[in-house]
C-alpha cells in the first residue's frame, strides 16, 4: 500500500445511544488514522468512549439503541456502507479484535481447538486437517504449552493469561491487517501482563499487523504505542507520537492524567510528593457540552473555554490538541 494511504481512516465518528433519559453522545466527532503496521494507543478514563469507538470500528454496536455516523475507511472501503454479510467477511479476517475478558468472547461450551478451527475454516476455506494443523501451530506461536492437548480443553480450564493467549491466537489466525485490542491486559496480573505485551509486540513484528490498543494504563501506553490519542468525554482532545505526548503534553487533561499516576521510584526521591488531583468527575455525556469538554475540571479554564469548543490544532510537529490555552511550539527550523 502506498505510504500516503492510511490503513484506517476514521472521519467524524459519532456513535450515540438513545436512552430513557436522553441521547448519550458516547463518541462525538472523533477522527483519526492508523498506518499499516503501526500501534496507536487510545487512552482515557472509563466512560470516555474508548470501547464504543472500538465497537464502532467493528460495527458491533447494537443498533438500536446505538447509531453510528461518520466514515470508517478501512483499506479505502467505508465499513459503514457495507452490508452485514460483507462486514462479517472482514471481521475476524482483515480486522480482528481482543477484549479485556476473554471469557465473554470465547464460547464456554466449545473447545479451544474447535473455536480456532472454525475461525480458520470460515475465512480461509481450508480443510479440516489443515485447520487442525494450523490451529496447533497458532497455539504454539502464542506460547501455549502442550498445544495439542489444549485443543480439546474448554476455556474455563485455562488461566486468565492462557485464555488471553488463546484470544490472541484466534485474532491472529487469519493474519489480520488491523488488530483492535480493548484493555487486553487489564484483568491480568503485571507478571502475566508483561508476557502478553511482549507476545503482542513480537507477533506484530512478525505478522506486520497494525494495532489499535485501548487502555487506561499510561504505563502500558508508554511501553507499546508509537502514537497516542487521548479521549475525554467522547471527544479526542490530543494526539501525538508517544515520546512527545509524555515529554510535553499539551492538553490540561493529559497533563492532569500524567501528574495523577504514581510512578515507581518517585516517592523514594521525594518523600513529600503528592499525587496531582484532577478535581471533580467526568461530565455526563447526556447533556450537550458547549465549549471545551474539560472546562468543568480544568485549572486553566476561562470564559472562552465554556463558550466555544476548541478545535484540534497543531501545537507542535505531529502534535495536535484541542485547547484554547495550550501553547504552540515554534516549528523547529
Amino acid at each position: 500500500m502506498p505510504d500516503s494511504l492510511p490503513l484506517l481512516e476514521v472521519v467524524d465518528l459519532q456513535t450515540h445511544f438513545r436512552t430513557p433519559d436522553g441521547i448519550n453522545r458516547a463518541v462525538d466527532g472523533v477522527s483519526f488514522t492508523v498506518k499499516a503496521g503501526e500501534t496507536l494507543a487510545v487512552v482515557g478514563e472509563s466512560g470516555c468512549g474508548k470501547s464504543v469507538t472500538a465497537m464502532s470500528l467493528l460495527r458491533l454496536v447494537p443498533e438500536p439503541p446505538g447509531k453510528i455516523a461518520g466514515r470508517i475507511l478501512f483499506q479505502g472501503r467505508d465499513l459503514l456502507a457495507l452490508t452485514e454479510r460483507e462486514m462479517k467477511a472482514i471481521r475476524g479476517k482483515e480486522l480482528s479484535m481482543i477484549f479485556q475478558e476473554p471469557m465473554t468472547s470465547l464460547n464456554p461450551v466449545l473447545t479451544i481447538g474447535f473455536q480456532l478451527r472454525e475461525t480458520l475454516r470460515l475465512h480461509e476455506k481450508v480443510d479440516r486437517r489443515t485447520a487442525e494443523r494450523r490451529a496447533i501451530e497458532l497455539l504454539d506461536l502464542v506460547g501455549i504449552p502442550e498445544s495439542r492437548r489444549r485443543m480439546s480443553e474448554y476455556p474455563h480450564q485455562l488461566s486468565g493469561g492462557m485464555r488471553q493467549r488463546v484470544m490472541i491466537a484466534i485474532a491472529l489466525a487469519c493474519s489480520p491487517k488491523l488488530l483492535i485490542a480493548d484493555e487486553p491486559t487489564t484483568a491480568l496480573d503485571v507478571t502475566i501482563q508483561a508476557q502478553i505485551l511482549d507476545l503482542m509486540t513480537d507477533l506484530k513484528r512478525r505478522i506486520g499487523a497494525a494495532i489499535v490498543l485501548i487502555t487506561h494504563d499510561l504505563g502500558v501506553v508508554a511501553e507499546v504505542a508509537e502514537r497516542v490519542m487521548v479521549m475525554y468525554a467522547g471527544r479526542k482532545v490530543e494526539e501525538a507520537p508517544v515520546a512527545d505526548l509524555f515529554r510535553a503534553p499539551k492538553h490540561p487533561y493529559t497533563q492532569g492524567l500524567l501528574g495523577a499516576v504514581p510512578r515507581l521510584g518517585a516517592s523514594l526521591l521525594d518523600a513529600e510528593s503528592k499525587l496531582l488531583e484532577i478535581p471533580g468527575v467526568v461530565p455526563s455525556l447526556k447533556q450537550r457540552i458547549v465549549g471545551c469538554v474539560f472546562a468543568g475540571r480544568c485549572p486553566h479554564a476561562t470564559d472562552i473555554c465554556r463558550e466555544a469548543m476548541p478545535a484540534l490544532d497543531v501545537k507542535a510537529p505531529n502534535h495536535i490538541a484541542a485547547c484554547h490555552h495550550a501553547a504552540t511550539e515554534p516549528a523547529a527550523a
Binding site: S159, V190, A222, G256, A260, L264, K274, E277
Partner: protein, 337 residues
Amino acid sequence: MSRPLLEVNDLKKYFPIKGGLLGGIKAQVHAVDGVSFHVSRGETLSLVGESGCGKSTVGRAILGLFDITAGQVVLDGKRIDQLSARVLRPLRRRMQVVFQDPFSSLNPRMKVRDIIAEPVRNFGLATSKADLEHKIRAVAELVRLPQDALGRWPHEFSGGQRQRIGIARALAAEPDLIICDEAVSALDVSVKAQIVNLLQELQKQLGLALLFISHDLAVVEHMTHRVAVMYLGRIVEMAPKREIFAAPRHPYTSALLSAVPVPEPATDRRRVVLKGDVPSPINLPSGCRFHTRCPYAFDRCRVEDPELRLSDKDHFVACHLQQPGLAGVAGVAVGQD
C-alpha cells in the same frame, strides 16, 4: 516502645475442597500458609503479590470473618482469634475495612447519613442525638463529602464518591486500624489520586494504622512505610519501602517490580519475565514455592523450603540465595534503575 497495634503470628488458613462420592474433603487450598507480621500505630504496611496469593484471606482472617486454621491474631497485646462474636464485638470496632467495590458493601436502601450513623450507634459512640449529628457531619467533612451528600442514596454517587462514603463509614467507628483491600484499585487515575491523597492525609491527621492490600505497586510505593511481598500463601520478602523498591532481595520481588510498566517511553529497563502462571495453591511445589518460576533456582531450592529470615536491619527474605555464606550471590537480585 510498647507492643505493635496488630500482630499476626504464623497465620494459616486452608480452605477444604469437598468432593468425591461421600463429599469428604478431597484437598485443601493453602490460601495462607504461615504468615507473620506486625503493624504499628500510625504505620502503613502493604501486602502485595499476584492475585490468589492470599492477601485478602489475611485481611479477612484479621477481621475474624472465619475461623483460622492455625496461628494468632493479636490486637494491642490481646489475642482475638478465638474470641466469641460477643467478646470480639467491641474490639472489632477498632479494626475497620474498606473494600474495592464500595457499592456492593453499601446498603442501597440506606441514605448516606444512615450508613455513616450505623457504626456510631452500634458501638454506642454518641452521647446524644446532637452528638450523633455532630459526629456524622465531622466524618463527612473529614472525607470531604459535601454536606448535601448525607441526604442522598449510594447509587447517586460516582465510584470515587462512593469510596469516600465507604471510608467515612470506616472512620465513623473511630478505628485504630483500617484494612484497605484493593480500596483504590477499581478507580480511574484522576479519582484514584484523590482517594490516595485522602487516605494519606487521614492517616497523618488521625494516627491511623493501615493494612494496605493492593496489587498496584506504584500506588503502594507512594502510600506505604513497609511492604510484605506474598507468594502462594507466604511472605517471601518484608522490608521498609525504600529497601523493597530500591534494593529488592527476593527474585520474586525483583521480577514483580520489573513487570510494572512505567509511564516513560523509551526507558530501557531490564525486565525479568517470569515464565508461566502461579502454581496451584492446592498442590504446592516442593522446596521453595517460587522455584518453578525462579530464574535463579538451583538444586537446593527444589527440595528445601527457605525460611523467612532477617537478612539486614528490618529486612526479611525467604530465599536460599540470601543465606549466610552465599552473600555474594545475593547481588543477582535485579533492581530498578
